[in-house]
């Protein structure tokens, strides 16, 4: 299923703790957060990291959630994540702590356009 990156399964409660233990700014490069709509109101969220200078597979933390869940923000661990979180909050309509909506969408754009259904 996952062709060329490693996946570490986690859960909504644990994810912040996991990333905090894992992330070392001088060793790992935070790439982005991505969400995939699995249908039926379910969504899979992945946090991607890669090592500096070494040819290695990227690492992803994976969490399954629903659109009603509140997703913890990692801005206090990785300050540059605010942009990725704002994008997901906007395009998927996810409830991410502290993420503001309206980064890309206008009032007359369709709400949460990347959801399938």
């Amino acid at each position: 299923m996952y062709k060329n990156f490693e996946v570490i399964e986690s859960s909504l409660e644990k994810i912040k703790e996991d990333i905090k233990n894992f992330y070392d700014p001088s060793k790992y490069h935070f790439i982005t957060i991505n969400a995939i709509d699995l249908g039926n109101g379910k969504v899979n969220i992945k946090w991607f990291f890669a090592k500096y200078e070494v040819m290695d597979k990227p690492i992803a933390f994976s969490v399954d959630a629903t659109y009603e869940d509140t997703i913890p923000s990692i801005v206090d661990i990785i300050p540059s994540a605010w942009l990725s979180e704002a994008e997901l909050a906007d395009l998927f309509g996810l409830n991410i702590e502290g993420a503001k909506k309206g980064l890309f969408l206008e009032p007359d754009s369709p709400p949460a356009p990347l959801r399938r259904s």
Partner: protein, 361 residues
């Protein structure tokens, strides 16, 4: 403080090629707070990739995210899909992809340098850089058939072969270009105007670059050793004499020097390809439907491009996510402005070489 002033910058401004808006809160000349709006160019390409188009057509809409690094977007997507299909493109196709990708980098870097020079008010240098950028553009045109949106890559290889006649012209033009780049290097190292305007302005320390996850030339100018060409196994860069360019100062001047030195590296890679292009097919038939998930990290001219593709065994993909280089650099750009002089803003923005059509997609 009483005398705070709000200065909007953009969305339409002479130094900006694209719409982006910064709202600066200033105290006298110093910026104390900044707000950024990057969403002007949001078109909804990711949605179209997941609903309207099949996975082969997507390879031709993805480059329309950004004209300057069109080749990087297309090839990163193609590589991600080929990883899902477990297809290894022919060796010749890989070399030709590197060739076009590096030519793309040369013209993009020259363009970025011209843009920074324009913000410094050095009109003469702008015109020199633009004239020599045309050499790279001519190379690309004769090789691919178009000047900006080449659509050169396709799933399974590349769309055109390199014929001996084209190779001859490429060699001639690149020789000329290389001489000119040496001249520029001399100018950048010795010109008093450039160092006076750019040294010590907009400094990003190594810690700051790591903390805010800067990418590309911006990170390498600050001493962070990161380059997706060395970190992701997609193209044969190791065989082609790739070398990572890293500077330590982290100011506008070193960002320019990183770009300039990377042009030398790109030229060396191109010479190696022209000298040792392998025989064989440049395109092969790819069968099957993508089922699975893969990622691709790609060193676009502006930094690390990240592609995350998921297919569920259908013609239309489930998810295509593009994380572009400027998307990573916006947080560090925002932090950098706090404490800077308002007069340096155009130079700092252009030295990042921002690409908003990438950021918003």
């Amino acid at each position: 403080m009483e005398n705070k002033m709000i200065v909007p910058f953009g969305s339409q401004h002479i130094t900006l090629l694209e719409p982006v808006r910064f709202i600066f809160e200033t105290e006298n000349e110093k910026i104390v707070n900044v707000d950024v709006d990057v969403g002007y160019v949001h078109r909804g390409i990711e949605k179209a990739c997941q609903t309207k188009l099949n996975y082969k057509q997507v390879a031709y809409i993805i480059p329309r995210i950004c004209g300057l690094c069109a080749m990087s977007h297309a090839l990163a997507y193609i590589t991600a899909v080929e990883k899902i299909l477990e297809f290894d493109p022919p060796k010749k196709a890989k070399y030709l992809r590197v060739l076009v990708h590096e030519l793309d980098r040369i013209h993009s870097h020259l363009f970025a340098m011209a843009h920074v020079a324009e913000a410094a008010g050095y009109e003469n240098l702008v015109m020199h850089l633009f004239r020599d950028r045309e050499l790279a553009m001519e190379c690309l045109e004769i090789l691919t058939g178009n000047r900006v949106q080449y659509d050169y890559g396709c799933i399974g290889g590349v769309n055109r072969d390199l014929t001996p006649e084209v190779e001859k012209i490429l060699r001639k033009k690149l020789k000329k270009l290389e001489d000119r780049i040496h001249w520029f290097k001399d100018l950048y190292m010795n010109d008093y105007t450039l160092s006076l305007r750019w040294k010590g302005i907009g400094v990003i320390s190594k810690e700051m670059a790591e903390k805010y996850n800067a990418a590309g030339p911006v990170a390498r100018a600050s001493g962070v050793r990161t380059d997706a060409r060395a970190e992701f196994d997609a193209l044969p860069y190791r065989d082609l004499g790739f070398e990572m360019i890293v500077y330590k100062d982290g100011d506008i001047y070193s960002r320019n020097l990183v770009r300039l030195d990377e042009i030398f590296v790109s030229l060396r890679i191109i010479w190696n390809i022209l000298d040792g292009l392998p025989e064989g097919n440049y395109k092969e038939e790819v069968k099957g439907l993508p089922k699975g998930e893969s990622v691709c990290r790609w060193e676009a001219p502006r930094g690390e491009l990240f592609m995350h593709v998921r297919g569920d065994g259908k013609q239309i993909l489930t998810r295509v996510r593009v994380k572009t280089p400027t998307f990573s650099n916006i947080p560090v750009l925002r932090e950098l402005f706090v404490g800077a002089n308002y007069a340096d803003v155009p130079a700092i923005i252009t030295s990042f070489d921002p690409c908003m059509s990438c950021t918003a997609r």
